[in-house]
Subunit: 168 residues, 2 copies
DNA sequence: TATAATGAAGGTCAAAGAACGTCAAGGCAA
DNA sequence: TTGCCTTGACGTTCTTTGACCTTCATTATA
């Protein structure tokens, strides 16, 4: 178990625990320097270890002042894991709605938050042909759930991504 | 927040907030001197952060006695009309996110609600080819806005403590 | 009085720099 | 020999700067 990826993972986890925080902001190149490895190695660790299924969210920003932010998701229950698993597959409007109902009952989201997501995954709103529609819906629900589970994800305002967006 | 652009943005926003004003008049060269940077850096910040989509208007005048005036637009007036107009045509991720920034600042949605919608309209989440992606995004934002605005009318202040309102 | 010169703003744009991401190819271990 | 690791070349995004341009008010000049 002496491989680098595991060491880097352990190091990052230790930062979470020693600091007792739910959010970490590091620089990829710093970690790479610390472990004397290629920066892309850090990306690899983030991609394989710090996944939503394992309870983490990763957000990064390029350019000067760039960084990598790792957020630890709130409580991990079996149902949440199942739901994240479910959002990996196409979902009908009814299925998606029932997940939202559940989250609402569990206090994981407010009624209004549920309404927002519900409106956005509505078939009329999506207005896409059917094989793809359910796939897009599941991705949307997943994205929403990740934010809900993150507790407080800072992603906008002065800290958020900014600038021209030719790609849309 | 290691980069200059973010610092300058934060500084300008703080001027708005500490003064509790909707209009600011500064000199580009003064800001540049204060931050010990090139004046064009200030122009860059204005161009990327203080955009109409984010609810700001910038007017400037050259020559002796020149200045830069930043106006913070209030949401209530033309906001709904503009937003619905905007959501009638394709929207890039940056444009959409900027509208969300604005709504949050104006108290039309909470930070978490903004994050949810932002995550759902992300290009990675949508994962659709480009001509259509921006169209779907605009429908999604529109759907979300309609819920947000309806909620505003119903209960007045949406800007509650983030994530602590499971009944709301 | 008109006009020209001057200096004081801010604007534009392209290039360089600073991060992070992607991907394919090779390495290594069970 | 299959499936992770690891690396490095190359790509994208965002920032920062500096050289050069335009606009405006003021002052000097014909």
């Amino acid at each position: 178990m002496a491989n680098l990826a595991d060491q880097i993972e352990a190091y990052l986890v230790s930062l979470f625990e020693s600091g007792d925080v739910y959010e970490l902001e590091v620089q990829r190149v710093e970690i790479a320097r610390f472990f004397a490895c290629a920066p892309s190695q850090v990306t690899y660790v983030l991609a394989t270890r710090f996944t939503p299924e394992r309870g983490y969210l990763v957000y990064s920003r390029r350019g000067g002042g760039g960084f990598v932010r790792i957020t630890r998701l709130a409580a991990q229950t079996q149902f949440l894991a199942d739901m994240l698993e479910a959002t990996g597959h196409p979902l009908t409007q009814t299925q998606a709605a029932s997940y939202l109902d559940w989250m609402r009952r569990e206090g994981l989201c407010s009624a209004r938050e549920g309404d927002i997501v519900r409106a956005m995954i509505d078939r009329e709103t999506l207005s896409l042909p059917l094989p793809g529609r359910d796939q897009v819906r599941s991705r949307l629900l997943r994205a929403a759930c990740l934010v809900l589970l993150a507790g407080t994800v800072r992603n906008g305002g002065p800290e958020g991504p900014v600038g021209s967006d030719p790609e849309g």
